[in-house]
Symmetry: C2
Subunit: 429 residues, 2 copies
Amino acid sequence: VKKTLTVAIAGLGTVGSGVIKILESKMESIERKTNTRLVITAVSARDKTRKRSVDLSSFKWVDDAETLAADPAINVIVELIGGADGAALRLCENALKNGKHVVTANKALIAKHGVYLSQLAEENNVTLAFEAAVAGGAPVIKMLREGLSANNFARIYGIMNGTCNYILTTMQATGRDFKDVLDEAQKLGYAEADPSFDIDGIDTAHKLAILASLAYGCPVNMDALFIEGITRITTTDIHYAAELGFKIKLLGICEMTANGLLQRVHPCMIPVTNAIACVDGVYNAVVLEGDSVGRLMLEGRGAGESPTASAVVADLIDIACNRFTYPFSVPANALQPAKNASIDSHNGAYYIRLTVIDRPGVLSDITQALSTEHISVESFLQKGAKSDGNVQIIITTHDTSEKSMSTAVKQINSFPWAVEPATLIRIFK
Amino acid sequence: VKKTLTVAIAGLGTVGSGVIKILESKMESIERKTNTRLVITAVSARDKTRKRSVDLSSFKWVDDAETLAADPAINVIVELIGGADGAALRLCENALKNGKHVVTANKALIAKHGVYLSQLAEENNVTLAFEAAVAGGAPVIKMLREGLSANNFARIYGIMNGTCNYILTTMQATGRDFKDVLDEAQKLGYAEADPSFDIDGIDTAHKLAILASLAYGCPVNMDALFIEGITRITTTDIHYAAELGFKIKLLGICEMTANGLLQRVHPCMIPVTNAIACVDGVYNAVVLEGDSVGRLMLEGRGAGESPTASAVVADLIDIACNRFTYPFSVPANALQPAKNASIDSHNGAYYIRLTVIDRPGVLSDITQALSTEHISVESFLQKGAKSDGNVQIIITTHDTSEKSMSTAVKQINSFPWAVEPATLIRIFK
């Protein structure tokens, strides 16, 4: 006798429609794998009249998604409403309390309330699943939680925001500037009307914080993250990056350092010989450095209707098969706050670009400022005077501390020959 | 109250030692994830006196591994004996029949008897797990079976043999010839004393056949595979490949074609712009082209003590958590033989290298032979006469059928000016 698992979908944007399409078109194959029939019983969204790519007529329509949490006919809630609080939170909270499984693609919600929701899920003996929250269709959460469960991680890093990667890739390929490419991305639907969440690095930070929690057994802690977006990246820097053998990417990086767990999101200069430098366009990639497995890279489409829906349906199939994991690898109350390292303690190499007035003594001022902080120069490039009489100086350094570097840069910016504040980009190795 | 899962390890080579090390050093973290204590109760290997990197004194030693199958104190057998038949098969068979879970890294065994063993596991309500059989520590089987369970696959391909990839990468990097690099690989322990299993493509074929079964719901069928190894790859071809923008890699490829399921293992010319062309040395990579998820690539170390042990222990953790999947995604008796396509029906582009006597009429003979088979030339390169008076002609073609190509090559080889049989390498796109 086949079991039935009843599913309600709250939120019918592209992902919600994608989930409906997969469940309908692959019903048979899913039944063979799970011995279970997945039945969509109810759907909910803000606007019933909106034109959608799927036929909703056979599903019960609910105006207020939150009421789904109390419907005894529903086994699983798929939450695709979005937002870290409000209706999404209340729906998930009440659904779990009422013994329903919850599948969500909502990284903001999981980053902010994931540990609390995980506790609720564990208390009520149901599943909280969020594979779709990180890296779209690439099952990095399952990999971290199950496939690589025998590993401790020295470092995990990745390109986790398709919008930023599309913008940086296009700037590199076309030489067009940030604003111009962002405008186009918005027209193409690759960037939101309000793009700040993506381009300021917040979305990447949510995803990184979730991965860090899974990898290091600590509660998600957004306050511990250093976050810097891509809005100040110029075509000039992209150009010099190429000249120096680098590509600029927005990375989320968490690593266990001598000073504690360092979580950071910022643009990086990545050597073109590093595989992740070749991950372009809307692709995402996550590299996991495990003590047993070594370096592992997973690359795939980070967003979009069907990749994200692929992850949501995989979570539903896991639930149908009763495949259980603690949402954060270990019981929520066994998560232990990490000792967090601040970005000041970061040690690494830097790219510095200066725009200076072309006059004697500048080089000596710069080298003096660097050497006072014991910063050793790796390469030095001076580009001839422009029509405005200014010159560009591009420096890459050997490893040094973030603290020394910011002190030196403050000093450099204060010189009267400095035309504008120095551009500083961390080099990733 | 914590549960206990008792484990016996049969075979104590590098992987077996690696498993013991992980289970001992990560006992606590595994307990947090599984609420279970994994206890090694017995070990077995051919030679008790052999020096090993782990202390075996606390485990029960068993001379005849096969007796482990009947020991009521054991819950899980880790089979690391190797070989498609013999002791490995009998141990797994009897262990499953006696209601024990089996974890194995043995691709030859799974390729030959996996479906039968899967049936036994299902009948006895236990797990048969073989994550370590494909791509070492990279959890490609879990990905295919669970993380991407909502996908149909147009194509799956990969570099799945570290020995071959090491040899080809080293030939490319150093210009040294096949025999020379193979000798060195044997000295370094990257290749077996009898390397034929690896270099003839059999090992890749085993892994590919397992992935094809998982992806297409058909029984593993080694007879359906076309297999060609790397023994005929020369530095000359690697050199011309680079000149044409290709790298030569041994790929395993399965794809659903208009003529049925085509499974093939052979050296490929891969455009250097393709991410998999950059997977070098002992790394493995598998690309999965799913209808929902799009193109997904997983890259990691394909062999070695700790990557393989990482996969074995992940399987043990899945068992401890009661995470169940059908070994081949669907019940063994629901697997349906695929309609298999033969290599003759393959359609693609080709690289041809000819060594010919430098005399008039040769080019016209070649172009005639190709055009009779409606093969269209994409690039043509003639290298000036060597001291022996012979010239090299390198041709790449547009897409054509394997059948047309072999007919044309047979014709070309029969001309009196042909110094040696043509070298033919398929171009991968």
